[in-house]
Symmetry: C2
Subunit: 178 residues, 2 copies
């Protein structure tokens, strides 16, 4: 399908023969025939590459839709073990509530590990300076123990580093005690 490829009957392309036929004063009829043949060949090539361009453009939309669907299925399959383990934790809920807490914690850790593996590690650090690229300030608190502008509580963890962020961490930030 690659009509621009070097192997594809490229003989009619180089401009040199054209330059030669300009000089041909005798045998003009043959030269004209040659030129007309050349024009037919070029027209054919041009029309074919325009048609191919049209096909590729149409395919673009379909290919993108398919890539999106494939990615969705691939990703959702990765989440199924998390759901399975929630089912499992619930099935054993009656027996030992303490064991259930451990089971649910393991499921949460599994989900967080999956997010990290997919490129979006969890961020819930306190004691770090407020960073507008990583944090969303949802409140402030006077705290004499830390410098002003320090994250003193994470209300909701963030996932992913700036550039590949699913969401920033929602945090409480220290103010200077007045």
């Amino acid at each position: 399908m690659d009509m621009a490829g070097p192997g594809h009957d490229a003989a009619a392309v180089p401009p040199d023969p054209t330059a030669e036929t300009i000089e041909a004063d005798e045998g003009t009829g043959a030269a004209v025939d040659e030129l007309i043949e050349k024009i037919a060949g070029l027209e054919d090539r041009w029309l074919r590459s325009v048609a191919e361009l049209d096909n590729v453009r149409k395919r673009l939309a379909r290919d993108i839709e398919r890539a999106r669907g494939d990615e969705r299925v691939r990703l959702l399959r990765e989440w199924l073990p998390v759901v399975d383990n929630l089912d499992l934790a619930l099935r054993h809920a009656g027996a030992d509530p303490g064991a259930m807490v451990e089971g649910v914690r393991a499921v949460r850790d599994q989900a967080v590990a999956l997010l990290a593996r997919l490129g979006h590690p969890r961020h819930d650090e306190t004691g770090v300076p407020f960073d507008p690229a990583a944090h969303e300030a949802v409140g402030t608190r006077a705290d004499p123990g830390v410098p002003p502008g320090t994250v003193v509580e994470v209300v909701r963890p963030g996932y992913g580093d700036p550039g590949a962020q699913l969401r920033p961490a929602a945090v409480i930030v220290s103010t200077s005690p007045d």
Copy 2:
């Protein structure tokens, strides 16, 4: 950029003038010049559409990669509330184990509802005939109460209907009692 468009200096394209110049016995020099000009124009168009084709192909690969990444981020953001609610259930774990079971069940239901909304409803029906498109048989059991080939237990639910299936349901199938 659409060089095949009707507005893009299409005057040199129609094949009729070529047919006329074949007939031109006098003024052959002028006819040859015209043909050479035509060839230059066609070569230019052809080369430009080949270059455009190359660009579109390269863009295709980039666009697909970007669509995949966008879909991944969009989907993972949908899962974050599930993870948030697991965090919440664990935070309240100490207080009331019974309430925790309810909380975890709600999270599980939330995850199952999300999968359904994304086009992959949960399947864990028993009492239905075994269907190789929807079920994976992982065992058999003699059961005089139902016709042979009936799903008598779902070991692991399936998600999605055939055609948009994340996985089939793993089931135990009844055999005729001998």
